[in-house]
Subunit: 452 residues, 2 copies
């Protein structure tokens, strides 16, 4: 195999079989999923190399697992059947910025931070922000979202079209540069969120946005979780459109304070961002103020000061790292349910209650404007009891959400961790997903063992 791959890539530096490098590609972001080494890590530098690699892998039946920055959390990048880990480091070119079309064309290895640095020059930005940095290819693959989805939507809503390589080594082009299309089946949205199981992306066309005129940042402390959740919902019911609205519980705040040396009050808190025309932002803030007072907010800060906002969002972005750092040596299990908006307050309370009932330490935080929140449990993988307890609580949280019309994963994807819930959520629809998988990837070489 290596000999043949050498012929395709023609550069020994971009074919790596060292244990250290393979280990780097054996796991994802601080997550509890078991490591598996790939047989080899390849660093293709263009789509023609990629095409040859996929065609060859398909011929010999070798698994292919795309790897961006490895920041997935449900085991998406773990090569559980070995094979090739495809690293996109060298496919990180921004191919075109069409500022007058609010669109960009990028290679999948471009990261969201890299893209935003470039877009800044044009007064544009890319809104989807899952916290840590991530490649856009990875974000499309898992249909990532994060803090800004409440205003701008998920990755699926940003992707206009793509070029990808199918298992048979052929290219497929989906979508277009048009903002709307009703031309045939939507293959773009089928491939987005397919977690590397249907195709290997080679090029993405994404929507971008004009940077708002003004940003107002606020941090609002509440006496309890329920009041924080209620306040958030009431803002949405009044048609306030925050660009970010995040719930951060007292445990998360404690972890952030230790990790970032901030001195935030350790109580349930909303991190909030309003953006748009200054007059809009001020009008919205007046409404927000009324609501948070009625919901008994203990104290709050609000400001147009960018430094305050940067610190706030930096703290939020690194919350998972902060929680991980609060429990050295432990791995993180993260729930990711998304529930109907009206269910959110009781879902969060239920979550805290089952954690307490099971004596499971963990933090709750989330994108509550979408009904999507996370409970994060640091667990010691060497203690089967602790793992079992976390899995039990995770299951109760998922079941609570599914019974009320929610989803087992709002943004992390299925990967390995949510496979057991897929049929519970979708019933027989999963059979049709599998049939689609079979026609796109009959030998099951594309990220095998994921989703199903």
């Amino acid at each position: 195999m290596l000999e043949y791959l050498m012929k395709i890539i023609c550069d020994p530096k971009r074919i790596n079989t060292s244990v250290a490098i393979r280990q780097q590609h054996s796991q994802d972001f601080t997550s509890y999923h078991e490591q598996h080494l790939p047989d080899v890590v390849l660093y293709p530098k263009n789509k023609e190399e990629l095409r040859k690699i996929v065609a060859y892998a398909n011929r010999i039946g070798c698994p292919i697992v795309p790897f961006g920055l490895g920041t997935s959390v449900e085991g998406q990048v773990v090569p559980i059947q070995g094979g090739i880990s495809l690293n996109f480091t060298h496919m990180n070119r921004i191919l075109e910025i069409r500022e007058d079309d609010f669109a960009v064309r990028v290679e999948p290895g471009v990261t969201r931070i890299q893209l935003n640095q470039e877009l800044k020059k044009y007064g544009l930005f890319f809104p989807v922000d899952p916290g840590v940095d991530a490649t856009l290819g990875g974000m499309v693959a898992t249909n990532a979202s994060g803090c800004s989805a409440v205003r701008y939507g998920m990755m699926r809503e940003q992707i206009l079209g793509m070029e990808a390589i199918l298992a048979d080594g052929s290219f497929i082009h989906t979508g277009s540069l048009a903002k709307k299309s009703s031309a045939g089946y939507n293959l773009t949205h089928l491939l987005a969120g397919s977690e590397g199981t249907l195709a290997v992306f080679t090029e993405l066309t994404l929507q971008v946005y004009g940077t708002p005129e003004e940003f107002l940042y606020a941090k609002v402390v509440f006496p309890d979780l329920k009041k924080a959740c209620n306040a958030a919902n009431r803002m949405l019911y009044r048609s306030i459109q925050p660009s970010k609205i995040e719930l951060v519980d007292e445990y998360t705040i404690q972890a952030i304070n230790s990790y970032k040396l901030t001195k935030y009050v350790a109580k349930p808190t909303l991190f909030l961002e309003l953006s748009g025309w200054k007059s809009t932002v001020l009008a919205e803030w007046e409404q927000v103020k009324e609501i948070i007072q009625e919901e008994g907010a203990g104290e709050w800060s609000h400001t147009f000061d960018k430094a305050f906002g940067d610190q706030l969002w930096d703290a939020r972005r690194h919350a998972a790292l902060a929680i991980a750092a609060s429990a050295p040596g432990k791995k993180l299990m993260t729930t990711d349910v998304c529930v109907p908006l009206s269910i959110l307050p009781e879902a969060v309370i239920f979550t805290r209650e089952v954690m307490q009932a099971e004596d499971l330490h963990g933090a709750i935080l989330g994108h509550i404007g979408d009904g999507n929140y996370h409970a994060v449990f640091p667990i010691d993988m060497s203690l089967p009891e602790e793992v079992a307890k976390a899995e039990k609580v995770n299951e109760l949280i998922v079941r609570f959400a599914l019974e009320r019309g929610g989803s087992c994963t709002g943004e992390h994807g299925v990967g390995l961790g949510k496979r057991k819930y897929l049929t519970e959520e979708h019933g027989d629809a999963v059979l049709w997903m599998k049939k689609i998988k079979e026609i796109f990837d009959p030998k099951s070489i594309l990220n095998p063992g994921k989703i199903f």
Copy 2:
């Protein structure tokens, strides 16, 4: 066949084989597509009847063509191979309004006007408005959009989940009530826009929105098409977010004036709606005023007066009917390209030029905030030369769009009329669409001959 269908439906009034009724189900909205009679028109009243009908049709290989209000324009409802026309008149129940979740569950025969009448009681509304009334099932099937898509998106962006019957007579449930999900392949977005070729919808879960506080309506007259288009684009570049921004050319205005007895100045015009908090709307209008003055707008009206707005949008909604009425006895051919925003002005100019060069009478209007516009040609179907001329111009317009990264259909769907462009737009991706069609509908009974 009739005998068996009688056993399923048990109500002779809901099985119709009269020529008059079959003729009503033989064509779509004022369009140039050839009529074909179904063999029978069925009016199922619940999903169990529907399931039995589909299972039976699949067994005997009988075509099934869903029919809402028949307001598609690319022949989607025409039963070109005969068979069963499925009329959804009796499946028009609003099943649930979840006001606190901004979601509704409806049967596919509910129309958008019917839904909005009900939503009004809750201070909510459903934004997608393709002009004439239409069933929500039909709108999901064609991924319809219309005037409000510039702010709220297409049908695909409104649909959270659905229940549908597959060709084999089994039910499928996709999506959920959650606003976001990354749980497996997105079958919801695959079925939405599939034009009745993959499944028969039985229930839809849709997003709805809070009614904005204030609406500002404006009609702005420009000296020429180009200036009107430029002004629209410049608004978007300044991050103004109109809830509607429509281009209406002088021919459309003339047709509207005759049809509605309005006295609008017959020049290229923008119909505009800003909505949101009053302060936002006013701030946006100040920006709009600056832009339209710089682009040489001749005159404009702007007002918060609902009566003015109602007349304006009523005129826009009935533009197609007005154009049809301006040419009695003729049928309408309507182009529907969607181009990247920056291309819009030149695409519209090109369209006017080829119409003039070919001496083809017609109107141009469209949702220019999305890059989606229509040229509407009234044609005498008994004159082959006229038909050929219109088809030639249509083709030139489509090719112009495709060469610049656009789509052949922004909102009308493929149906019969755009089939010839599908491969030109999507290349080999069409083969994969066909493979999906084959697994979902191996006997090709679901709206056969459409899309492909």
